[in-house]
Amino acid sequence: MSALLITEHNNKEIRPFTLNAITAASQIDADLHVLLIGNNCGNIAKSLSKMPLVKKVLHVEATYYENYLAENFAPLIVKVSENYSHIVSSANTFGKNLMPRVAALLDTSQVSDIIKVISPDTFLRPIYAGNAFATVKSTDVKKCITIRPTSFEPCETSSGSAPIEKVKAAEEFSLSKFIKREEVKSDRPELGTARVVISGGRGMQNGENFKLINAVADKLNAAIGASRAAVDAGYISNEHQVGQTGKVVVPDLYIAVGISGAIQHLAGMKESKIIVAINKDGEAPIFSVADYGLEADLFEALPQFLEELNKLNTIQK
């Protein structure tokens, strides 16, 4: 039996975490097929077929697949899953919304958000917001798995030549309707995939003060993050939130400014390669995960930081 990966895309391009999910799924079973469900997404089928880890592309089209409602996707996936031992997707809002619906229809107990494939039936996953790691073994015949994208490298995207096979659509679910999607447009790198992230917390005191963060972010080509406290206080909008209830990020450099380091925030960033904490409270828990801690008033430190960065001849982008 083979593994089946559900592609996340917007009919124009593949969403980047699909590449990480392909890597993870191929570790479960090297005979990896990908299922592409969408509307007018032929170009994506071609891109998928070029990925060396992908052995076959199953391509389904229907107008009602345009906006990836789980109610439409799930019955189709169940139908296609007959020939597969594992159904896999990324554990972002796409996969979190979709996979349990598939699992319930298959009467399978899903394994969510795995960070490591130990064997085809045994996985490592964080629980309690990453404060503990559980090794779990699925005993179901068919396994539904979501993977934490940042724990797996993105796959190669060229030099493959997998066949593309058309699959028939399933029936439309008429009780749910997509209305609209408001995407957040930004010139900055995406928070989930940025090489550098700089985040502000309640210590920023107000939304206006985030301009200090913005200036450093411009210089470092960084994405901007925030703690839940800063989001709840209304300093910045929710799509910037890093943490258990926001995004999990694993950048090369994470700079936490005015963030105390609540458990739920640490869960979203403590796997970062290098962590910098700037906080005037030397006892703040954020220092326990920081590689470099600076105990200082952020309103003095951030302008100085920018000044020092300006003195450098080169900055990695």
């Binding site: 399978t108 045994t122 917001a129 009780l175 209830t245």
Partner: protein, 249 residues
């Protein structure tokens, strides 16, 4: 309209969770337990809908041990009308919880089922979606705004790309995001009144649902520790370290 709200008793979100030395789980003895935070948002939303005159009854339900009654009492204190405890022992997986909830939905026939988007203990994020699949109802997950429009709900969902608006027919299952509302605190008189509200206890085995876990927990361990970092004296030293030691800028 009748609303069923599912809640879960979990280790309080402010508690630093510790792993048991024998690797069988995390320490729960003498640890503060609370309701799962997004479940508080689910209750709050149901109460707001009832206050607006659009709902007539709110039933709070939980699946768990005897002590989970505390979580139901809290829900009753902020406005639920009655509670149901489905008693189980040990780990009950989201699929089993969804099957139990399905049985209760069949019996109680609610128009809406609310619950938090995720429980902060096992972090599975499955139960709501599974329940709506079993019922073949629409699902609106990660809801940050809900508007009732006749026999439909318009729901704004928090997704990775930003905000998504969907319309679902009633009956439906809605999982609530923390930004849906600001949960109220129970007043002392309401806590007292809640003690007199009806609370029904049902054994899971009487519902005919097999709750034996399908996913075996082999071991639970501490996550790898980060190596201890250093404190730098000033910004210049920080930039120097980042440039020449960590080589990340």
């Amino acid at each position: 309209m009748k609303i069923l709200v599912a809640v879960k008793r979990v280790i309080d979100y402010n508690v630093q969770v510790r792993v048991k030395e024998d690797g069988t789980g995390v320490v729960t003895d003498n640890v503060k337990m609370s309701s799962n935070p997004p479940d508080d948002n689910a209750i709050e939303e149901a109460v707001k809908i009832k206050e607006s005159g659009k709902a007539t009854e709110i039933i709070a339900i939980t699946v768990g041990v005897e002590k989970s009654q505390e979580t139901l009492r809290k829900a009753l204190a902020v406005g639920a009308d009655r509670g149901i405890l489905v008693k189980t022992e040990g780990i009950v997986e989201p699929l089993a919880v969804a099957k139990i909830l399905q049985k209760i939905v069949d019996k109680e026939k609610p128009d809406l089922v609310f619950m938090g988007k995720q429980a902060i203990d096992d972090d599975c994020n499955q139960t709501g979606q599974m329940l709506s699949a079993l019922l073949n109802w629409p699902q609106a997950t990660f809801a940050s705004k809900i508007e009732i429009k006749d026999k439909k709900l318009e729901v704004i969902r928090e997704v990775d790309e930003g905000l998504e608006t969907i319309e679902v027919n009633i009956p439906a299952v809605i999982t609530c995001d923390l930004r849906l509302n600001e949960p109220r605190y129970a007043s002392l008189p309401n806590i007292m009144k809640a003690k007199k509200k009806p609370l029904e206890i049902i054994n899971a085995s009487d519902l005919g649902v097999n709750t034996t876990p399908r996913v075996q927990q082999i071991k639970v361990e501490e996550p790898p520790k980060r190596k201890t970092g250093i404190k730098v004296a000033n910004v210049a030293e920080l930039v120097n370290k980042l440039k020449n030691e960590a080589k990340v800028i």
